[in-house]
Symmetry: C2
DNA sequence: TTACCTGCAAACCATTTGCAGATCC
DNA sequence: GGATCTGCAAATGGTTTGCAGGTAA
């Protein structure tokens, strides 16, 4: 069990993440929180982001390209990554709509499939228009 | 277009990858190639791995945890990552069996879905037995 | 001969960590 | 008062890169 004490820095990070749809990197979070708490350090941002992930209050995304990103919505959902501008967007997929792929994967596999992580790639609506 | 000259180091890396099922990290590749070419440098291993990826002869996997891994089989297929021992294994999924998820993702999305990357998580057969 | 390739070492980038002091409860 | 938190700066780990000398074609 993880014990925590109140911290205004952590509160601010949580609030920022819950209100943005940008799926920011740790550094972007740092930039934003610094507007309110100019003395906050990048180390504190990383520590709190990891703590919030451990508490299950936010989610960490590792899309492969570059840095990890963070999502204030801890409920299971899927993400899209634009191959042109690298933006990350939530997808509007019915919860459970992809659960069946675990069974497909489990056929002919001797271990135990417990979950999956999926990223969809392509062009976001902006990049689709701009060329 | 990428132009290349023969290199015994690159040949050796390609051969090692085509023959192992370990999905090794760059460092593991380095260890193995060093048995035959003790003077090879890690930089050269990285350069050749990236070159082979660009040539489409191997595939780079980014399972999120720790370092990237490399797969000598460039044909599209899916992977399993063990949450206990972190091993990576090929899954025996019929080619195309998951193509339909792109259409699920595209419903209600304004951009253009061109592909996806999926990792399945759970316990490998070994770790399933050993507890 | 001239790309391309190599080893080496330094640089880079994202992330983590040790420390001494501050803060919450 | 004691555990948790902070800023700072240094350390870490994975990967890339500049350079000067080698090698394939």
């Amino acid at each position: 069990m993880i014990t925590t004490k109140f911290s205004r820095q952590r509160e601010s990070i949580k609030e920022y993440l819950s209100q943005t749809k940008e799926h920011p990197t740790a550094d972007t979070v740092y930039m934003h929180i610094r507007e309110k708490y100019p003395n906050i350090s990048l180390g504190t941002v990383y520590r709190n982001l990891n703590l919030l992930v451990d508490l299950g209050e936010i989610i960490k995304l590792s899309p492969g390209n570059g840095s990890d990103r963070f999502d204030g919505n801890p409920l299971p959902h899927y993400h899209f990554v634009c191959t042109e501008c690298s933006c990350v967007q939530d997808l509007d997929i019915v919860p459970g709509a992809l659960d069946h792929i675990n069974r497909i994967a489990e056929a002919g596999f001797n271990g135990e499939i417990q979950g999956h992580s999926v990223f969809f790639y392509g062009k976001c609506s902006n990049c689709k228009l701009n060329n």
